[in-house]
Symmetry: C2
Amino acid sequence: MSAAALFAPLAPRNREDAARPAPAELPTMYSAGAEIYAQGDRADRLYRVAFGAVRVYRLLADGRRQICAFYLPGEVFGFEVDGRHHFFAEAACASGIAAIRQVSSDEASREHLESALRSLVRAQEHLLVVGRQNALERIAAFLVDMAERQGDLAQFDLPMSRSDIGDYLGLTIETVSRVFSKLRAQGVIRLLGIRSVEMAKPGVLRALCE
Amino acid sequence: MSAAALFAPLAPRNREDAARPAPAELPTMYSAGAEIYAQGDRADRLYRVAFGAVRVYRLLADGRRQICAFYLPGEVFGFEVDGRHHFFAEAACASGIAAIRQVSSDEASREHLESALRSLVRAQEHLLVVGRQNALERIAAFLVDMAERQGDLAQFDLPMSRSDIGDYLGLTIETVSRVFSKLRAQGVIRLLGIRSVEMAKPGVLRALCE
DNA sequence: ACTGAAGATTGACACGCATCAACGCCTCCG
DNA sequence: CGGAGGCGTTGATGCGTGTCAATCTTCAGT
């Protein structure tokens, strides 16, 4: 039994796919804001980010939004139980995303289990940030996380808007903006562009996360 | 952990056995507050709650605590990546917990993957509560969740302290207590005991969660 | 049953962040 | 080139929840 058993049988997307036994996973282009799947959709495949970034979120009835996770190049998302998506997924910026066909080899199954567990650990760690840290600590944790996931370089990109960052951290865009300004004023970060950050004092940032 | 729980032979399983919550492993007793595993411990097995409740949490350097999840009877926990526990797990009240040997059979791994994915969805939904709902909504969501996971009866138990509830919802015990009092004053719930609740107006509670 | 400690409740007050509002900057497109 | 609209920044103000403190309740141990 493989991970594929958890998902509904994969319907061929077109005649070509059905005819090809081992299709190459070519990324599909998504422009910023484009929907990848919606809450309630059938969950019959996984996705791997080739470039760009994906936001996975949920909405309350009155429109409040919580982004549960961002997925960056190389990362896999789309796991669900019971064959239905419980969340929305959209490209946070222009992105390339490859659909992964559910394969039945043990190796692929193990790999997907590992990806799912990594998402679980990440979600639980995110809970600590959102549930118990203040605005400054949340932004610091977010910046450190983004840097680490992009090779841990001093300079890195924020492939999403301030609004996305706020909805990821449980803050408003105004608070996000104020904290960025404060960190910049203190020389902890430099903003090379609206979406490009340089960690001037990584030690300070890391200390803020505790 | 008793030797019996560690080395109890796995009964051969068929499809129906896997679906049934009753495990072949014998549960070990844990008193309230007893540690099941700690951050940094080797993660070499899973656990299934027989009775009682488990809290899985993480700490900040200054002692702030975030409970990522509660596990109730029948539920499986202990998933990790890279063979190390990233969290602490303790009995939230007197509990019986069975260790599950990591087996490589396809059937067991399928079952575990499903449990892991269920934990993932639950954690992501919990993020919405903690990140975007106010104190009243959080408590309402918590009560509805607890009721549903205990058979969706009007009356149910809270197998954890107010402090645990606060650390699960990202609130202080004072706020938790105040919201309970408010719901009781409005006739939405009745407190049959300090840890026993009756949903007098389930519709109101569900509406609060949106 | 008595006693002490831990947990829970309630009140007063403070503060961090949300809200509301104004403005600047950039991009798109006529 | 100019206007419009989206996004980001900054300021003023209010509210919800944290903090501190006092009291009450529950429960375990003697």
